[in-house]
């Protein structure tokens, strides 16, 4: 029996797909897997797991959080970067914030005391700018340095005004009738970061009010362009599993570690140096410190007794 051409073509397609599935979808990954049993490859293929004190404590290349149950930093450990993988460093929910460079206006919570729950319920949200500002403030406080950054209030939110009033032809508001500091919620801050703008008293922001008709104006402030708290300390990585921090951020944490563990700071700095990787071949990648490896070394050399 001779089948019509279009049926024969589809039969050929089905058979081709099945054959190629066996070759590229089964034989190929199994062959690669088989090769990984060669000594020297197996540990990588299994996830580069590391041990400390006789137990497996994680993967050398997957970052983890060094915080207590409430998410507060454990002072005896170097801290990793902020993470957007689940509730932090969760390999079953990897990812980034995906917030853009002009994401600067917060969605205020109805009840500021209940902000965390409202953020989980997605009825409130900190803008990327406020996230950066509040992290910078927290890290500054923890390490005993200034957490000041451009476009940030001392309280750790973004300095963004809604300037309301008649617009000129270019869209600017020359004579505002009302100015609101959008990320400073009434009841949360005592007074806005600046008292007046364009001759008008700056108000705090109230939940549920719509200020979007105003011109949105971020205020640079006078913080240095290169703040004390480094960039990687205030930003989340792409994967949410970044195992590294910059050498600058590691050195910023050294005095606290030394104090908590009761060892001279030079020894902590030396430990950082021992775990620092420069650019491969001098030009690939960026200088970095593996946080888990460094903390394991600390526990081994300078055990911490709470």
């Amino acid at each position: 029996m001779r089948l019509p051409t279009w049926i024969r073509q589809h039969l050929a397609a089905v058979r081709a797909l099945l054959v190629l599935t066996v070759i590229t979808g089964v034989a190929y990954p199994l062959a690669v897997w088989a090769v990984t049993f060669v000594p020297g490859l197996h540990s990588q293929a299994e996830g580069s797991m590391v041990t400390s004190g006789g137990r497996t404590v994680g993967s050398r290349i997957i970052g983890q959080a060094f915080t207590d149950k409430n998410g507060n930093p454990l002072k005896q450990y170097f801290q990793s970067r902020p993470s957007n993988a689940g509730t932090g460093y969760d390999p079953t929910a990897t990812g980034a914030s995906n917030l853009g460079p002009e994401d600067i206006v917060d969605t205020l919570p109805k009840n500021p005391a209940n902000k965390a729950a409202e953020i989980t319920a997605k009825t409130a949200r900190d803008s990327l700018l406020t996230q950066v500002c509040s992290r910078s403030r927290a890290v500054g406080e923890l390490e005993g340095v200034s957490g000041a950054r451009p476009f940030c209030t001392p309280g750790g939110v973004g300095t963004v005004l809604s300037v309301i009033g008649p617009r000129d032809r270019a869209g600017h508001v020359a004579r505002p009738t009302r100015v609101v500091s959008l990320n400073e919620q009434c009841g949360v801050v005592a007074k806005p970061f600046i008292a007046t703008y364009g001759g008008v008293t700056v108000e705090c922001a109230k939940y549920g009010e719509d200020y979007s008709k105003g011109a949105i104006v971020p205020i640079r402030g006078n913080a240095p362009a290169r703040p004390k708290v480094p960039a990687d300390a205030v930003t989340a990585s792409g994967s949410g599993l970044d195992p590294h921090i910059s050498p600058e951020y590691a050195r910023l944490q050294a005095p606290r570690i030394a104090k908590t563990r009761g060892v001279p700071e030079e020894q902590v700095l030396q430990a950082i140096k021992d775990n620092e990787d420069g650019r491969v071949l001098g030009f690939l990648g960026a200088p970095r410190v593996n946080v888990l490896q460094l903390n394991i070394e600390l526990d081994r050399k300078f055990p911490f007794h709470a």
């Binding site: 979808g25 897997w33 990984t36 390999p91 995906n98 990327l128 500002c133 290169r226 960039a231």
Partner: protein
């Protein structure tokens, strides 16, 4: 060494490595597609398929074979995802919901690898390796096969026959993709990429918390994901994930892999049309556009213009420490200049103008160097349009490689060119007109529009990367983007095959004094100009409302 100098060396070393690979790989692919011998394994496969390898096909039969194979692939992959709970290595995941399974099936068959799902919480190991990764191989091979047919159209004369799809497909998989992917996968394992079949296993971290370490046949999938310009990550975080892209040098290798076939195919083209200079001209256009693009995106990212990047002091949001800003920008540029769409950093958080470059790269039609195969045929279409425009200017009959570009050819070329702008702009307009679909945006204002525009640009050009803040796992987006991917892949392919058919039917017109030389810098500049101008005119208004509005104050 400063970060900028290291970044320049990083990109420079990639350019050098690609230049070194151009001749040997291009020549090797030439031999693969022009050789007459079948290996014993291949003969066995042809018997299993029921194909007659020495019978060549007309363009129409070839096109029907491509479409039949792709349709069967979509159905198979759809069924695979819907039934995954009944299969081994499912990790206990439920069947993928209907609209998402459709979207994913289309996405992987069209070489887009747009992902509205999160790998680690949706797909079992078997679906990943025997479903999705198989399409990584074959969708790349289909693209290359179609490009080879177009080249045969230029190279042959007065014939209807353009090759056998099954032979091109099998040879491309067996002789090109499989061996290179195998070696690359092993190298990735050396760097730290995982290759196992474990369920997530929970460990206690140093601080005493619980962490689930995921497993999977990742290295094997990662290698072909880059080599075949696919881009679908095993995990949600894609090539930012340390198990997919563990070290700074695997990052270099992954960029090299995703560029190397597309940059070497012009050599194959030059060999097949019997004039290597034509290959150099095409690769020169691709390289010029790519170098300008990578320079611009690196500049924008390092200048970190914008409110939040200024507050941070660097464009570090969504960027891994080990890669840093410059190497991430190079990856972002390469992945959007090709049809890869893998990401090692998150484009949504890029500076306004840096993010615009990723979109602009895709809007170029992904021709510099573009996807495996699709980049070459896209660029040849632009070369055809260029000789036509040049012919209009000087009043001569346009010719390219001894073939007359008459109204039939130019109709195929212009229809090819119009498909993606239509998909992108109509799709974006619809999404913005519907309140429920507008709500899918994560970011507000111009950046929200950029998310939608990016989604349709990425889908229609079969890229697969995203401004990933947008919530696209909805019935509407899964369906609409699925349609954009299918239309953006298969209609242009049919036009390319049709063009190949009408070129092959012609004889060879000998070059005369009036023929425009198509291997000189003048022509290279003209093709690059045509590419940029056509794009700028089509998409400038949309870009002005999105990233330009955001980035220029």
């Amino acid at each position: 060494m400063s970060a900028t100098a290291a970044g320049i060396l990083f990109t420079g070393s990639l350019v050098l490595a690609l230049a070194l690979a151009y001749r040997p790989l291009g020549d090797y692919m030439y031999r693969v597609f022009t050789g007459t011998k079948h290996s014993r394994v291949e003969r066995g496969i042809y018997r299993l398929i029921g194909a007659r390898p020495d019978t060549e096909q007309t363009w129409a039969v070839y096109a029907r074979s491509v479409l039949a194979f792709s349709m069967v692939s979509v159905l198979f992959l759809y069924g695979f995802q819907r039934l995954q709970n009944h299969l081994m290595l499912s990790l206990g995941f439920k069947p993928v919901v209907t609209h998402q399974a459709w979207n994913t099936a289309i996405s992987f068959v069209t070489n887009t690898n747009w992902q509205s799902y999160s790998g680690e919480s949706t797909m079992g190991h078997l679906v990943q390796m025997a479903g999705l990764a198989v399409q990584n191989f074959v969708s790349a091979a289909v693209g290359i096969a179609v490009a080879i047919v177009l080249v045969r159209g230029f190279a042959r004369k007065t014939t209807e026959l353009l090759g056998n799809f099954w032979v091109d497909l099998v040879r491309c998989v067996l002789r090109i993709l499989l061996p290179f992917a195998f070696v690359a996968a092993i190298v990735l394992v050396i760097g730290g990429a995982v290759q196992n079949f474990h369920d997530p296993h929970t460990i206690q971290t140093l601080a005493g918390a619980k962490q689930a370490i995921t497993g999977g046949p990742v290295a094997s999938q990662e290698a072909i994901k880059e080599l075949g310009t696919n881009g679908g990550g095993f995990y949600n975080a894609n090539s930012a994930h340390p198990f997919e892209n563990p070290t700074v040098w695997t990052n270099w290798l992954e960029i090299f892999l995703l560029l190397v076939i597309s940059f070497s195919l012009p050599r194959t083209f030059g060999r097949m049309v019997g004039n290597n200079k034509q290959g150099y001209a095409i690769v020169a256009v691709m390289a010029t556009l790519a170098v300008v693009s990578v320079t611009l995106i690196s500049f924008f990212q390092l200048a970190h213009h914008g409110t939040v990047p200024t507050a941070i002091g660097s464009a570090m949001e969504g960027v891994e420490t080990r890669f840093g800003v410059p190497n991430s920008a190079t990856f972002a540029d390469a992945t959007t200049l090709t049809s890869t769409g893998a990401v090692n950093s998150f484009h949504d958080s890029y500076t306004s103008l840096g993010g615009m470059m990723t979109m602009f790269n895709m809007m170029l039609g992904e021709v510099a160097p573009g996807g495996t195969g699709s980049g070459l045929y896209g660029m040849l279409i632009l070369a055809v349009i260029t000789v036509f425009v040049a012919g209009l200017m000087v009043g001569r009959t346009p010719e390219y490689l001894g073939k007359k570009i008459s109204s039939r050819e130019i109709k195929f070329a212009s229809m090819y060119f119009l498909i993606t702008p239509i998909c992108v702009l109509v799709g974006t307009a619809f999404a913005m007109a519907l309140p429920g679909e507008r709500a899918a945006m994560l970011n507000r204002g111009p950046h929200g529009l950029s998310e939608v525009l990016y989604a349709f640009t990425s889908a229609s050009n079969n890229n697969g990367s995203a401004f990933a803040g947008i919530t696209v796992n909805t019935a509407w987006y899964d369906t609409a983007l699925g349609l954009a991917m299918a239309t953006g892949r298969f209609l242009p392919m049919i036009f390319v095959l049709g063009l190949a058919g009408s070129l092959a039917r012609q004889g060879q017109t000998p070059a005369s004094e009036g023929t425009l030389p198509t291997h000189r810098p003048q022509f290279i500049g003209m093709v690059a100009g045509v590419t940029v101008i056509l794009v700028a005119l089509t998409f400038l208004p949309a870009l002005a409302l999105g990233p330009l509005a955001e980035g220029i104050h």
